[in-house]
Structures are given as C-alpha cells and as structure tokens.
Amino acid sequence: MIELTGIRKAFNQGRHNEYWALSGIDLAIPDQRVTALRGPSGSGKTTLLTILGCLARPTEGRVRLKDEDISGLPERFLTEIRRRTFGFIFQQFNLIRGLSALENIILPAYPTGQPRQALLEKAEALLAGVDLGQRRDAQVEWLSGGEQQRVAICRALINDPEILIADEPTANLDTKLSKEFLGILEKLADQGRTIVLTSHDPLVVDSAVVDFVVTLRDGRIVDAK
C-alpha cells in the first residue's frame, strides 16, 4: 500500500520559472491491484509516478509505504527501499547498449552484492519466462522493440519487487505487441504484484487487466474509479 497525502512537487523552486507539476495529490495505491494513471500530456502523470516509485522526493506532503513514512529520506536510503520494492519499465526501454540481454537484466542487482552466478541463473529463468531464452547473449541493440521491452521487464523483476512501475509502456509498441504486453501484465498481476502504470492508450486503460483508473489534469486528480 502506498499512501500519498498533500503531495506537491515544484520544479525550479524559487526561480522565475518555478512550476508546480503536482499541486495537492491525495491518493492510495491498493496492494495487488493494477492502477492506471491517465491524463493529457503535461498533466503530471510521470511526476506522480516518480514520487510513487521513490525516484524523486515531493517538495511537500507525506509518502507512506507499507505504513512507513518515507517522505524525508535522503536519496541513499530511498534508493535502497526502491531497489527492494520497485521494478521499473520505461517508455524508452532504456537498456544499456553494448551489454548482452543477461547483463542488462542483472544490473539492478549489482548494488545488492549477490553472487554473480546466482544472478545469472535468475536472469535466465526470467528470460525463459518471456520466451527469450535463446537470445540471452545477444547485445540488446540487436533485439527488436518487443524483445527489448521484454528484456526491460525481466530487468524490472530481477530484484523480485512487490510493486511494478511502468511509464507509458505501450507508447513505442504497435497493437499486436501492445496486446502481448497486456498478456504479460496479466501474468504479473496474477502473481500478486502491485502494478502502477501511466498511459493514454485506450487499449491499456480500458482493458480488463486494469482495476483502477485515476485521471489527472494540471497536477490534480479529477477522477478516480
């Protein structure tokens, strides 16, 4: 459970171009459900996602994660929590070119200091789970868009997170691949993971996989169902 109260986020605070991307968000993300954030471009979806996922600290307001107040934590500890709790899937898949699929997948686990062999085995199992077992040693830039996204999903799962965060996951995919993605999403939801994603793709927002839809406009929640 993630609880946000009175969240406000400013960019360029105190300067002439100060901009409040979020102005007063109260929101609770339920466990083991799929929540979608939607809204027009610039409405603050990504900003809200970064705060939910502990990538950024709010300027004002409280964040509670599993009944622990994490609002004032410095980056070092926020990162530790994030690494344990969250997996991230980005719109641009953000894989590191020049490394193989396997190596990309185990990157988030490097700071945890687990033995390399154990990590590689885990990564292989994950790749097999998304039917990419045979491409494990391919450099990621040789993979197709859909394959890259599946590698990115495996990377998000390497630390076995309870919560998955996805920002516009289907924006770079065609309809067929988007449907495939929804299939994977459903599997992950069935495993009991909490999923938060942003999208303005009706295919995603209106699909049966999504349990809750939260609509944003100008940094405020206008609708939640």
Partner: protein
C-alpha cells in the same frame, strides 16, 4: 553490510566499469596513453637521478675520508717535497690510519675532443710504458688490450704507451675516462717535478674523528685545504636532488596540463555515458554506487598507466641508458661516459611518483565524476 556482500558488490562494479571502458576504447586509450607518458617521463627522471646518486655514493665509498690539498694564493697547488713528512712529525693526528701522496691530472685529447684523467695509482703495479684505460677510451679511441697509443704531452713530445688492460664496466661514472700509468711515466709525461704530489689522501677509521682531524690540519697547516668525503657525498646528493627537483618543477607544467586533460576527459561525458548513468540511477543504483564505480575506473586506469609508465621508464633508464634525458641530467664531462646504471628501485621514490601522478589525476576528476553521479534518477523518464 557483511564483508562477502561488500566484496561481491565491488566485483560487480569492477565488472561493469571494465565493460564500459572496453566499450569506449578510443577515448580511454587516449587517456591511458597520456597518463602513461606522464608517468614514464617522471619515473625516468626519478630513476635516473636516483641511480646517479647511488652510483656516486658507491664510487665515493672507496675513496679516502680526507683529501688534503695545498693552496697558494688561494689556488690549488702541488704538494712540495717534505710536506707529507712534516705532517707526520709536527702534527699529531690521532685516528689517521694511512697517509699518502697521490699523483693525478687532466689531459685534453684533441683527437676526440675529450678530457681524460691521468693517474698513477700506488696500490697497483703497472709496468713502465704500459697503461690501463677506462671503457670510455676503449670506445672513443677503439682501444683494446695490446694496442699501442700515443699522446702528445703538454710540452709537445709524443709518448707512446701499450694498453695492458681495459677497466671493467662497473661504476663507469668515474672510471670511464681514467688512464692509469706508472709513477715515472706520469712524472715524465707531465714533467711533474720529483718529490711533488697532487694531493694527500688520508684514511680515518672512526667517522666521528674526521672532523677533528680536519680542524687540526687547518689550524696547524693554514695553507692546506682538507676535503671531507662526507661533505662531497652530501654535495653530490643535494646536487642530484636539486637537478631532479628542478626537472620536476619544469615538469609540473606537464602535470598541470595532464590534470586539465583528465578533468576535460572526465567532464566531457558523452551523451551515451550520461544516459547510461541515468539508467543505472533509475534502476536502483545510488549516487555512491556510481561514484564507487567511477573510482574503480580511475584506480584501474591509474594503476595500469603507472605500471606501464614505470616499467617503460625502467627499461629506458637501465637498458637503453636513458637516451632521452642523458644530456639534461648528467652533464659534467665532455666525454659522456656511456654507462649502464645498476638497476635500483626505491620505495620512497615510488610513493613520491604516485603522489605526482595519481594524486593530481584524482583531484582533477573528482568534481566531474560527482556531477555525473548526481544525475537525478528520474531524468531517464523525461527524454
């Protein structure tokens, strides 16, 4: 964090940084080359100066504790007959074990435009008409044992000698230009008056006594000038230190340039590198992890450059006779003794070199690394 986890984590970071170095070969090889070059130059200077210093010390170790010269009108003059005996009788010198007159002088060889040191050693039996020469003469005049050679003396006569032997290569710095001959030959060649000596050598057993002996000599023989071996040693040591320091001061410009270069390299992260760091931060790396990763990168590059540069300098100085710096650092004889220095490695020197190379490098890359490492983790979501 348990030790094992910590080590494993550092291994991961090193793995990553090695892979990332390999991915940007051109850029990193450039840095490595410049870095190695700097270490090479500094290490060459240090090794060379140090070897010269130890060499000079070794040479002087076998020379007498005190050399006594006589001054006339403030200038070095010959020791007249009876002077030596007078010291023995009038001055009671405690601690002086042995005292003897020496014969030596310089000879300018106009054929090869070089100076030789002619000497009549007292502890060696050289038959009349024969000479023993240093390796420099062997090279410059193409001499070998059994050859004959003629020198035109200062009075114009031609003297011919047979080379009995060439001195071995060890400690060439001083022996290279030596020509050893019989006392009678020496006196005949230079028209050296009978009974006169160039100077007097004294050996003193107890080092604590040397100074007292010198003071006593000065007070009883006001026209004498005692030269103490330890004094010469110190002078040599500080001259070499000075030259080395001066070279370093000149090279500090190079160190500074290197620092700026390293700064530029570290600051000029490519867009690709910036993106990679952004990704790492977004997927769960912390600023400290990125700094550590970059630290390993710097350490690996530094160690590699240091090793390569130092080994190259070692080969340069001890196997290629320091061809590049010879003229600057040695420079005391017209005839450069081409000598092979005994290899010598010194802890203080390595530590100092480390200070001059790794320290500026680290200082220079600190800020750029920090800049890159503090990329906000949410930046990759906003491209």
């Amino acid at each position: 964090m348990p030790m094992k986890t910590w080590i494993e984590k550092q291994r991961h970071l090193i793995d990553f940084t090695l892979a990332s170095l390999a991915r940007r070969k051109a850029k990193n090889l450039g840095l490595l080359f410049i870095y190695t070059l700097l270490v090479f130059v500094l290490a060459s200077v240090a090794l060379y100066a140090h070897a010269l210093r130890t060499e000079a010390q070794k040479v002087l170790a076998s020379s007498p504790e005190i050399v006594l010269q006589r001054l006339v009108a403030g200038r070095h003059d010959l020791i007249p007959p009876g002077y030596l005996e007078q010291i023995g009788q009038n001055v009671r010198l405690r601690g002086v074990q042995k005292m003897e007159g020496r014969l030596w002088g310089y000879y300018y060889d106009s054929v090869v435009k070089a100076n030789y040191t002619f000497m009549a050693p007292r502890d060696m039996q050289i038959p009349r008409g024969e000479i023993i020469v240093g390796p420099a003469l062997e090279r410059s005049r193409g001499l070998a044992a059994g050859n004959g050679i003629s020198f035109r003396s200062y009075s114009g006569e031609l003297h011919t000698f047979i080379v009995a032997e060439v001195l071995p290569q060890t400690s060439e710095l001083v022996s290279a230009d030596l020509v050893l001959m019989h006392e009678e030959d020496f006196r005949a060649f230079f028209k050296y008056p009978e009974g006169h000596w160039t100077d007097i050598a004294m050996s003193v057993a107890n080092p604590q006594e040397v100074r007292n002996v010198a003071i006593k000599l000065l007070s009883t023989l006001p026209d004498s000038r005692p030269i103490l071996r330890d004094e010469v040693l110190r002078t040599y040591a500080s001259i070499f230190d000075w030259r080395e320091g001066l070279m370093l001061a000149l090279l500090s410009a190079a160190i500074l340039a290197f620092g700026i270069f390293a700064w530029e390299k570290a600051a000029g992260l490519s867009a690709e590198e910036r993106r990679e760091i952004g990704i790492l931060k977004a997927i769960g790396w912390e600023t400290g992890d990125v700094i550590k990763m970059k630290f390993w990168e710097g350490l690996l590059v530094s160690l590699l450059a240091f090793l390569l540069g130092y080994v190259a300098a070692y080969l340069h100085v001890f196997h290629l006779d320091a061809m590049i710096f010879e003229p600057v650092l040695k420079g005391w004889a017209v005839l450069y003794p081409r000598f092979t220095l005994p290899p010598h490695i010194d802890g203080l020197q390595i530590a100092t070199l480390f200070f001059f190379t790794v320290f500026p490098y680290t200082a220079a890359v600190l800020v750029p690394i920090w800049r890159a490492a503090t990329t906000d983790p949410d930046t990759v979501m906003r491209s």
